[in-house]
């Protein structure tokens, strides 16, 4: 007997899939090549001339790049979590077991996040190289690593919820990438654009919206952990509060999808998901 049998089963399935070692190896090789390239650019072949400020840039660049890659990779592993089960006709049996909707969703989120977290773990030795050149302190690396794991779980949760709400994997993938697009691209581009506009007479409006939008951007918040930009405590509250609220809002229809008995609480016919 296991606390969450679905989680255990998913781990087993995902780690046995043929693409898993390819993804992990491909990711590590790419990150290693990038790291060595950046470090070489940093020292320009002169190992005696170490510039910690430049090494800090290497650390920041690596972190932001890693965050971007895992943010866009996570929906690929999570957006078909429930809709894929429905399409493969395995969901119907799962829903007749005593597993709760919460247990099913948590199992799917954590199992989808696991492979992405593994990618972060295999890249940790590369971060240790940055220490050699004085670019970051261990606390910063740990904070960035923890924040990246948090974002993976967050994006996986949003993708799994979209996957439960949407009837087809195609739609859930579109919705998941739209969400990641908002988080990484829209909030960053518009937020930073408004910051540039803040020089104009619209200063108050532009700055307030710029700060709020950038607070929703995981890259911006990660940069603050690396000490490159300053964000207020309000920004952290906004980041955590906004995405927690989004997960909570999406969880309601998702649970209704998985437990049709709840529809009797509402007027109208249930939407038969199986």
């Amino acid at each position: 007997m296991r606390a969450n049998p679905l989680l255990y089963k998913e781990f087993r399935q995902r780690m046995r899939a043929r693409r898993t070692p390819l993804v992990v190896a491909g990711y590590f090789v790419s990150m290693a090549a990038l790291t060595f390239f950046l470090l070489y650019e940093n020292v320009q072949g002169q190992l005696v001339l170490v510039l910690p400020a430049r090494s800090e840039q290497v650390f920041l660049l690596m972190s932001l790049l890693q965050m971007t890659v895992v943010a866009f990779l996570t929906p690929a592993f999570a957006a078909g979590a429930i809709s894929g089960e429905r399409e493969r006709r395995t969901l119907v049996v799962l829903l007749t077991t005593p597993l709760s909707p919460f247990g099913i969703l948590v199992g799917k989120v954590l199992s989808s996040s696991a492979l992405l977290a593994l990618l972060l773990v295999v890249s940790l030795p590369l971060y240790s190289l940055v220490f050699l050149f004085g670019g970051a302190v261990p606390q910063e690396v740990l904070a960035v690593f923890g924040f990246q794991v948090l974002n993976i779980v967050l994006i996986a949760a949003l993708s799994v919820l979209w996957s439960t709400i949407a009837l087809r994997s195609g739609w859930s993938t579109v919705l998941s990438y739209a969400t990641v697009g908002f988080m990484v691209i829209f909030s960053g581009v518009v937020g930073y654009g408004l910051r540039l506009l803040a020089q104009s007479p619209m200063e108050f409006f532009a700055l307030r919206w710029s700060n709020d939008l950038l607070a929703l951007n995981p890259l911006w918040m990660e940069a603050s952990l690396a000490g490159v930009v300053n964000v207020s405590r309000h920004a952290w509250v906004l980041f955590l509060g906004f995405y927690a609220a989004l997960v909570a809002v999406l969880a309601v229809p998702a649970v209704f999808r998985l437990r049709p008995q709840l529809w009797r609480l509402l007027p109208g016919d249930e939407r038969n998901y199986q």
Binding site: R12, T97, L99, P260, Q261, D269
Partner: protein
């Protein structure tokens, strides 16, 4: 053990199941037969807590399906008409996963999985990957999966659908063995013949309603009285029609050129009289043979005559 009271399911204006009243006694096998779209799957889906009834009630093992779905899920083993299996899992891992879902302890799950795999003739496949099994094997594995938590009630939706003739026979053998376990079983099929050797009672669903229920024992008792005759020959059409019309034991005649199929409720001596009557009217007989009675035809005959034959 299974009881429905005025169970109704509507999808918008469409009525999928209409005022269904059904009782399946403990330890018996009840077969639901009906064409596609008759409401079988919707009924079983409501009983399996996958769909909520629009009105009416359904009880399984004393639990109401809408208000006590958790208890119902523990009491049932459900096999859907169309199902998939998980990739990258062996047969044993597949069964262990479902045992874990029901909170069966590891040792019991291991023992039960091995017993059940032997029971459905898949003992040699326990380390094979589930997705590598044939469709027939997967269907039998699903039966084993349904039994992993030792439920009181089994709900099987068209367990033989999509199988080749050989696999159908294997599945029928498994279903017959299921009877010996003393479980209460509700099984559906669109072929009545398939359930004849498995079910204690059979109900026909048409247009979302249970139009008739008959005991298989009663049907078998009647089957001696009903015979299917296969007659071929040459002669004037009027002669054939007159001979059949004059014989009160002829219940039904179906033209299956070059022969006719006659449902006959008479003795062997009375059959001989029919043969003589045809020949007296100038019919040259090529063949006059008795065939095994089609259970489907018999069922319809019984239920048309007396409503509930039980």
């Amino acid at each position: 053990m299974i009881q429905t009271q005025n169970l109704v399911k509507r999808y918008g204006r469409e009525v999928a199941v209409n005022q269904l009243n059904l009782t399946v006694r403990q330890g018996t096998v009840f077969g639901i037969v009906g064409e596609n779209g008759a409401g079988k799957t919707t009924t079983l889906s409501m009983l399996a807590t996958l769909t909520v009834p629009t009105s009416g009630q359904a009880f399984i093992a004393g639990y109401e399906v809408t208000h006590q779905p958790h208890e119902v899920r523990r009491a049932i083993g459900y096999m859907p008409d169309s199902f998939g299996v998980y990739d990258e899992l062996t047969v044993m891992e597949y069964l262990r996963f479902y045992a874990d879902c029901y909170g069966v302890d590891r040792r019991t799950a291991e023992r039960r999985a091995k017993e059940l795999l032997d029971w459905v003739d898949l003992g040699a496949k326990r380390h094979s990957y589930v997705n590598a099994l044939s469709r027939g094997m997967q269907q039998r594995l699903e039966i084993a999966r349904c039994l992993m938590h030792n439920p009181e009630v089994l709900i099987l939706d068209e367990p033989s659908s999509g199988l080749d003739p050989r696999s159908r026979l294997e599945m029928r053998a498994v279903l017959q063995r299921l009877r010996s376990l003393g479980k209460t079983i509700l099984v559906s099929s669109h072929i009545l013949h398939e359930l004849g050797s498995v079910a204690d009672e059979i109900g026909i669903m048409r247009g979302g309603e249970l139009s008739a229920i008959a005991s298989v024992n009663v049907m078998l008792a009647h089957s001696d009285a009903f015979r299917t005759l296969w007659i071929s020959g040459e002669g004037p059409r009027e002669a054939w029609e007159a001979a059949f019309a004059d014989d009160p034991h002829v219940l039904n005649v179906v033209d299956k050129s070059p022969a006719v199929e006659v449902l006959y409720a008479g003795t062997v001596e009375q059959q001989a009289q029919l043969m003589k009557s045809l020949m007296d009217r100038g019919v040259v007989l090529y063949q006059f043979a008795e065939r095994p009675t089609d259970i489907e035809e018999l069922f319809l005959r019984l239920t048309d005559q007396g409503g509930e034959a039980d």
